[in-house]
Every structure is written in C-alpha cells, then in structure tokens.
C-alpha cells in the first residue's frame, strides 16, 4: 500500500492503495467517480476509457501507480454542463439505450475527433470498433459523430 496522489479532472486527491491496482478501481471505489465503467478488465470493451494527459487509455489495465503525477480526465470532466459537441450530438441523436458503455463511447469519440476532425466512414468504423455496445447503438453513434463533425 502507498499514498498515491492523483489529479483527476483538475482536482487532486490522495489515496492509500496498492500501486498495482488498476486506475479504474481507484477512480470508482476510492475517488468515488462512477461514470467510468467496468466492462471486461482486459482492455477489450472500452467502457473504462479515460484520458491520461489528454490521450485515451483503458483504465482497467493501467496501474494506479503509473498515473501518479499525470492529468487524468474522466467523463465527469469532459465538459462542465454536458455540452461537449460530442455529448450534444449524442443527446440529439438519442444514442444511449442502457447507457452503460456510453462514457467510454463518448470519451473515445471525443479524442478521435480531436485527432481527426473530418474522418471518413471507414475511419469512424476503425476508431469506434474498439468500444463495444451490447444494446447495439452503433447506427446512432455513427450518425452522432457525423453531426458533431458538421457542428
């Protein structure tokens, strides 16, 4: 166990955990931000996607110790009022069904569009195929991404 100082969404908190604990559980169970979700534990579904220094990462396989001193952003920190262009497009297209994977979908889409503001359909497919949705919101995710490109 060790005291680890985390900076999440611009706020710092110190938690006493096993440095090997995946960041996901530190965020959820110790810092109390539950928007980041547990889906598979092997970085295959993307529900746990957060940003480390602005880059998307799978928090279920990233050790807490390795993120000390880095800036972590979770879905709660993506925007202040649920008004990031991707969030707005998600609401306009009524994307979520159960909603459980959507933090990961939105975080992944926002980072992807930051890097590639004008993607082709194929590029959208490739970038978003890494985040899984069992409800099958894919047609709406595609539409929402296109809307946020145009806004």
């Amino acid at each position: 166990m060790a005291n680890i100082k985390l900076s999440i969404n611009g706020k710092s908190s110190t938690i006493d955990v096993d440095p090997q604990m995946p960041l996901l559980w530190a965020i959820r169970d110790f810092v109390g931000l539950t928007g980041t979700k547990f889906g598979c534990g092997i970085a295959k579904c993307g529900a746990c996607t957060v940003y480390i220094n602005g880059q998307p990462a799978r928090s279920c396989v990233l050790t807490t110790g390795a993120t000390e001193g880095k800036e972590i952003t979770t879905i709660e920190g993506l925007s202040e009022n649920n008004d990031h262009p991707v969030q707005k497009a998600w609401i306009a297209e009524q994307v979520p069904q159960c909603g459980y994977c959507q933090s990961g979908q939105i975080m992944n889409a926002a980072a992807f569009l930051e890097d590639n503001p004008n993607p082709t359909d194929k590029e959208i497919d490739t970038a978003m195929s890494t985040v899984l949705c069992r409800c099958g919101c894919y047609p709406r995710i595609k539409k929402a991404i296109k809307i946020s490109i145009n806004s």
Partner: protein, 711 residues
C-alpha cells in the same frame, strides 16, 4: 423493521385511491439520486400511485418499470401524460418503489411493459384528469361536461382557467371515478410521437447510476471463485494466502440456486474490490466436478442427433403428419444447429445487499424488483415490508437480470459477514457461469404436393427447456416451440419437442426460443420455396391468410424492391416472425466483396399495434438486429464441461464496423400495442442465410458462421 417514516406516501384508500405525498423533502435515496437533477422541492399531492402534482404545477410521474435500455423510462410516462393532458417534456420522471400491491407486476421481461400496462396507465392518467376536472367543475359550480382539460389546466366555456396546481388539493379529496373515459386514439398528441428520452442526458455525462455504482457505508466487496464446470462442488480449500492480501477480511463458502440446482462458490470479501480479486487469485480449491468435465461440444451434438431419431412429444399438430410424410414421393429434410450464447450485458452481474437483524436492503440492477424483495423476505424469514429494494438503471439485461442468483450470493455473504456486501462478477464469471441461451438442433421434414405447395411439414426441436431443467419429467413443453409459426396454411403440420437435460444452465436470452427456432423454420420454408421453384416471398404469401403477416411481407417487398432485378454480386433473403404480439418481416441484403460476404442492408417492417415512441421502437429494433447478427457470427463452445470463451477477446460481440445499414419501418395501426423489445432479432439469422443462398447457392444450416468461408 422498516422505518415507516421514510415512506413518501401515506396511504389514504385502496389501490386506485389517493396518496398524499409528504411535502417535506427527505434525504435522497440511491434511486432518487438518479433523477435528482429533475426533482422539485415544492409540496406535491398524489392523485394515485403514478401521479403527483405540485401546487407549483410541477407534475411527477412514477415509473414502475426498471430501465435497461428498452426506453420505457420515457414511454410509460408518455402514456400517463397523454391521458392526464400534461406537457410530457415538462414532467418529472421518478422510479416508483418496488411494491406489488400498488403497481402489480414490475418485472421487465418478454417485451411486456407496454403491452400489459397500456390500459392500466391510460386509466391512471384519465382518473387523475377527471378528478382535476371535477374539482374545477365544483369550484365554478358547473357540470364536468362543460370542463376541458388540456396542457396542465382545466378551462370552461366562458374562458376561465385553473391550473392543475391550483386544483390538485381539492381534486385529491374527491372520490376516484371508476370508469373514466379514455381518449379516442385519433386525439393522441403524445403517443405516436418521438419524444426525447429524459434518461439520455444522464447517460452522456456519467450521472446515471447503475447497480455497480451503489455505495453503501461500511460495505465489503466480494469476488467469488466458482468451478467452471457448472455443478462442481468444493472438496477442500486453502485460503491462507488469500487472507494475507492486504484488505481481505473474510473467505466464505456461498451458493446460488438456479432452476432448482445449487451452485457453490468460494467468496473473498475485502474492503475494496481489487483486493477481493487478488485474494481470489490466491485461493487454492479442489473441486469435485462429478465427471461432468468429460462432456464436450461433440457429445452434445452427437446426443442431439441421436435423440432426433426418437419420436419426441407433439407440441402442435394438424392433419396427419405420419401419413402425409409416408405417402410423399420425396421427403425433403434439413437439420439446423444454433450454439449456446451468453447474455453479456456490458454491466457485469453485481448486487449489493444488507441483511440486518430485522430488515434488509438491496441496491442493484434487476429486471424483477418485486421478485428480489420476495426472495430476500422468504430466505431470511422477514416480512416483505421490511425489505427495501433500490432498483437502479440496468447496464443491459437481455433476460439475464430476471434471475436472483447473484442477489442470493450478495445476501448470503452479507448475512455471514454481518455487513453490507457488494458482489461483482468479472466478465469471465459472467461469460462462463451462465445461465446461457440454449443450443438447439432443429430437424425439419417436408413433402411438397404436385402443384408445389407444402403438403406436410414436421419441425422437431431437440434442446433443453428453460422451465424444465430440473426433476425427472422428460416431456417437452410448449416453450420449446417458441418462434415456430403455425400460421402457414399447411394441411399436415407438426411441431415436436425432444427435451434434453444437461448440466449447462440455460435461461431467457433476448427473444428466447425465437432466437433459435426461426433460423430453422424460416430457412426451411425458403428451401421449400426454391424446391418448388417459387419466389420465397410469394411462396410465403401464398400460404398465409393472417392479415398481419401478409401486410408486413407485402410492405417489406415494396420497401426493398424485392421483385426488382438484382445487381450483380447481391443477394436478398426474407424471413418473418411474430414475437410478443409484434409481427415483422425482414429483408437482408448481402454483397460479395472478394471472398467475403457482407450484409449491407437490413430492412424490417413492423406491425406492432399502436406505437408509443417510434424512435424508441426503432432503437430497439436496431439493437435487436445487432444482437441477432452478433449471434450469427459468434457462439460459445463447451470443452471439458466448461465454456471455452471467457471474455470479449474470444467471444467478440458485434462492433460498429460490422454493422450494416438498418432501416426500420413501423406500420400505422390502431390495435392495442404489442411488445417491441425483441423485434428483428429472430429474423436476422434466417433472412441472412436465405440471402447467402440466393447469392451463392449454398445453404447455411449451422451457426455460428464465418461468412468469408462460403465462397
């Protein structure tokens, strides 16, 4: 016992009677937090268990069904608001308490929430509306027939107007009208429109709370090791290394019951989940797998084919199938295989339970809140009123969350530890422990008459039956024939079941037997059409009188230019099914791209009666199709008595890149609403396989299938 002061309602009269909502605000419970951003602090008066109106004109509607993605979070309030005559975009939606007396069944299964609740919800809205009108009539000293309710106010002919907030106190004192007039569907303003869902914004910023997010002071986290061979029991174990992991507090044996069979596990309880999982890895357990670890995939299919030669139990019969098959010159026969499937909702199974001396509390994602209440009350010998159920949003259900097994584990561990316990299953637990969608062998036989009509058809289902997994009864029940239509006008038609009992636990999976049987039935009808040298869609129409099937088939033919010429390298296939009352026909278009065959467009035409929220129905159909298409490409396999595929790396669910264009056409109807949550799933596999045949001349009779191996 339950602290009655926490109850938000004081019951004043019987079921449809009045409930006064206590004006002061109590501390928010877990479930209330879900809707915290929409809450009001104004005093509010309940007109019945679904409707409460504030003197500030706020309208709160209590939704009695859990939301797992199906969209009833919005469509249930839409039905109430329609009759109540209020602005649906201004209402506050709250989940109701779990209370069978007040709300009847609250189980979210089989696409029932709209079809069974429609009249009840309309009546609730209309009752309150009439009480508000009566209160206005009294005030103005005129007859109720001279009052009109609209947009949250009552008006009269001389232009006076009183808002619902001004009327609610007087209205709540009135007798409840017994048979309030329901609106003429032609006057519907909300029903039939695509109203945005109020749960959507909570699901784009991480605010929506799911069972796994429950945080109860003092709770322990549990991770449970179970034998991968489903009925394995613990012979001996050593927990000394596990107990050394920092944070680990206890190791307890536990068990969960599923369809009459108890399944053992060894749980590690810790003050955080990660520690519990690390402790679990350090356990040493010897399992007695009772020889079940000898069973593999091959034996299952060998057994199924062997048993397909037996007579089976008749589940439906018309004409004389034996005679008709015997007199046929040629018996056409085909066998179809569908594998076991896992539900894999994105939120793994979890439950948080606190079993206390004289009360209990549950927090979690469940399709059956009242079932969990009864289960806990019965198991711990307390009154149901002493069990508080906090049901949250569900991170997917698909049938898996109708069971109580994972709740039983949390309850048992809380009882043993004397603290609240949150059990979280890993993805591997979720995928390897089941219960699963049953695998199925379907053997179909038919004889065509000289004029190319089907004279006889026998469809035999060889599978496990969910309702009959335990005990010695080996007679197949009608559940086994789900999804096999008996509407085709075939003079000699027989559906038979050969019940198999296996150690693999099975349960309800989205569309249930409609997810397996139509693959065989609708592919076989297609095979017969080609043998009869008739267009498969015309072949179906020629055998149907049912106007709903005829309508969806005719419309899907139009929408897809079915009878038009095919482009080179394109194939189309059709299938039709009825599920939960909804009738639908689907055309799948496939394209040849090199060695690969790709489904490029899926068109579904639905007749599901009155449609409450068309956008939600479209979303449900899209989701059903995507889940159905995933089940064409992927399945589970059994080896040494256990499931081989453990996680998404080996059991890949469909991705956005594999998703074809989807068009959903909802037909106008004034018939009562049918269920919409599974529409589209049953037809994907057969329509796709039929399209592959049209393109390649090759029949797909075994799922899963890799479409790059056909050409």
């Amino acid at each position: 016992m339950k602290n009655t002061s926490r109850r938000r309602f004081i019951k004043l009269s019987s079921l449809t009677g009045m409930y006064l909502v206590v004006g002061c605000r109590e501390s928010a419970t877990e479930v209330e937090e879900i809707t915290a951003t929409l809450s009001t602090d104004a005093p509010s008066i309940g007109l019945n268990q679904f409707i409460s109106i504030g003197q500030d004109n706020s309208v709160t509607l209590f939704n009695h069904r859990a939301e797992m993605g199906q969209g009833t979070y919005q469509s249930i309030p839409m039905i109430i608001a329609e009759e109540l005559e209020v602005d649906i975009n201004k209402v506050i939606i709250k989940q109701s308490e779990a209370n069978r007396e007040l709300y009847g069944s609250q189980m979210v299964v089989g696409s029932r929430s709209i079809q069974t609740e429609f009249e009840k919800l309309r009546t609730m809205g209309a009752t309150a509306r009439e009480m508000l009108k009566q209160a206005a009539a009294k005030k103005w000293e005129i007859g109720i027939e001279d009052c009109t309710a609209a947009n949250g106010s009552v008006t009269n002919k001389v232009g006076d107007s009183l808002s619902y907030g001004e009327l609610v106190e007087a209205a709540s004192q009135l007798a409840v009208p017994e048979n309030p007039t329901l609106k003429d569907p032609a006057d519907f303003k909300i029903i039939g429109t695509s109203v945005p869902r109020m749960d959507v914004p909570m699901k784009t910023n991480g605010a929506a709370k799911y069972g796994i997010d429950a945080n109860v002071p003092g709770m322990l986290y549990a991770s449970i090791e179970r034998s991968p061979v489903f009925l394995g029991t613990i012979t001996s174990y050593n927990d000394s290394e596990a107990m050394k992991v920092p944070g680990v507090k206890h190791v307890f044996k536990t068990s969960r019951e599923m369809f009459g069979k108890h399944r053992e596990g060894l749980a590690v309880l810790a003050d955080n989940y990660w520690a519990a999982t690390q402790g679990r890895k350090a356990l040493k357990i010897d399992w007695d797998n009772k020889g079940l670890d000898k069973i593999s995939e091959a034996e299952i299919w060998e057994d199924s084919y062997k048993m397909s030669k037996t007579e089976g139990d008749e589940l439906f019969g018309k004409g004389n199938i034996k005679k008709a098959l015997a007199r046929g010159k040629e018996v056409i026969e085909a066998a179809y295989e569908t594998p076991y499937q896992a539900h894999v909702p994105m939120e793994p199974m979890n439950a948080t339970v606190s079993i206390e001396k004289d009360r209990a509390e549950f927090w979690g994602s469940t399709q059956n809140p009242n079932g969990m209440k009864s289960f806990i009350a019965e198991k711990y010998g307390c009154d149901e009123s002493a069990v508080k159920i906090n049901y949250t949003f569900l991170g997917g259900g698909f049938g898996r969350r109708s069971r109580s097994d994972f709740v039983e584990e949390a309850a048992d561990l809380s009882f043993q530890a004397g603290k609240p316990v949150k059990v979280i299953w890993s993805r591997e637990d979720d995928q390897t422990q089941g219960p699963f969608r049953a695998c199925s062998l379907n053997v179909c036989k038919a004889v065509l008459s000289k004029d190319g009509k089907v004279d006889a058809l026998e469809h035999k289902v060889i599978a496990q039956e969910i309702r009959n997994q335990d005990g010695d009864n080996m007679k197949a029940g009608r559940q086994l024939m789900g999804g096999i239509t008996t509407d085709y006008l075939i003079p000699n038609l027989s559906v038979k079941g050969v019940l198999r009992k296996r150690h693999v636990p099975i349960s309800y999976w989205r569309a249930v037997y409609h997810s397996t049987n139509p693959f065989a039935h609708e592919c076989f009808i297609d095979e017969l059409a080609h043998r009869a040298e008739t267009d498969p869609l015309t072949f179906r129409l020629d055998m149907l009188e049912n106007p709903r099937y005829r309508r969806v088939l005719t419309e899907v033919a139009k929408a897809t230019d079915w009878y038009g010429p095919r482009e080179a390298g394109v194939g189309k296939g059709v299938a039709m099914v009825e599920r939960s009352g909804a009738h639908f026909a689907m055309v799948v278009e496939v394209r040849e791209e090199g060695k690969q065959i790709i489904p490029t467009k899926i068109t579904t035409v639905l007749d599901l009666g009155i449609c409450i929220n068309p956008d939600t129905v479209r979303a449900q159909t899209e989701g059903s199709i995507i889940m159905g298409l995933g089940a064409v490409y992927t399945g589970l396999t059994l080896k040494h008595g256990a499931m081989v595929e453990q996680n998404f790396d080996t059991y890949p669910i469909l991705t956005i890149g594999q998703c074809p264009e989807i068009e959903t056409i909802i037909l106008d109807s004034d018939a009562p609403p049918d269920g919409a949550g599974e529409s589209g799933l049953p037809t994907v596999a057969p329509a796709l396989a039929n399209a592959v045949f049209e393109l390649t001349g090759k029949r797909v009779r075994k799922l899963p299938i890799d479409l790059s191996t056909i050409i």
